[in-house]
Chain length 153, copies 2
């Protein structure tokens, strides 16, 4: 994936997130893009984001990636549902109301993971996003996030 | 809280987690202790673990803290249920099968949060842990984790 990502369209004052903010120099700076109806993010973490056992992701990183990718998916899906394209206007800001993660199998370090998200339901200010985290051809974790749009300033 | 924490009793080969591993020099290194039937962890993150808006925790950090504290609570609760005290033997290792977080209100940076966990159910190798994350006297997030004990080597 190349070009500008969903997160590149966040307003500056909302771009400081450790997980996805382009203005957070210490952070993960994940980037999400459309692939048809799905949102995609590819990410390969630094080696110290390991779990209890060296060589595997720690659970909090998996939750963080799914959470931030879900927020971006909600923002982009809302824009699309309103008939706009990326860049037409700043993305709406969504925050997480709830997040459920199922950890299906360990996620090895040293190889990129792929997140794939989908907006299951768009109802007013609320969007439910379903996401899978895969690597080496296997789904390692699944997430469902309830995202809520913040009022515009 | 002083003295040795739950995480200080993890076996070395399981002590590399970015969230709670005492051997992960880059990580959060959270510390959990008993307070009666509840497990407690106090934590004040570095300023760059901010959410989209500067000044508030990012959601992934909240998930990470609850996840790691839940794993520690499960390990310590299992030991206690078997009639042992901390230090009698190495803690069992638990991994997260599922994690549900409800984000109730924003969590401000610059002030310590307190996690309080409780083992709701201990059934064989499975322990359900309920956790609250509070600061400034208010519960900011709640979590429920299903933790599964790994087989001993």
């Amino acid at each position: 994936m190349t070009g500008k990502a969903f997160q590149d369209y966040y307003p500056d004052e909302f771009a400081h997130c450790y997980g996805c903010g382009r203005l957070n120099k210490e952070g993960l700076q994940i980037k999400s893009y459309w692939d048809g109806e799905e949102s995609v993010c590819v990410y390969n973490p630094k080696p110290f984001y390991t779990g209890g056992f060296p060589g595997y992701f720690y659970g909090g990183l998996i939750s963080s990636l799914i959470d931030c990718h879900s927020a971006a998916t909600a923002s982009a899906a809302k824009l699309r549902a309103e008939g706009f394209s990326l860049g037409d206007k700043p993305l709406s800001r969504f925050v997480t109301a709830s997040l459920k993660i199922d950890f299906l199998k360990p996620t090895p370090m040293g190889t990129a993971i792929e997140l794939r998200g989908r907006a299951l339901e768009i109802k007013g200010r609320k969007i439910i996003v379903s996401t899978t985290l895969s690597s080496e051809g296997e789904i390692r974790a699944k997430g469902e996030a309830v995202m809520v749009q913040l009022p515009e300033n």
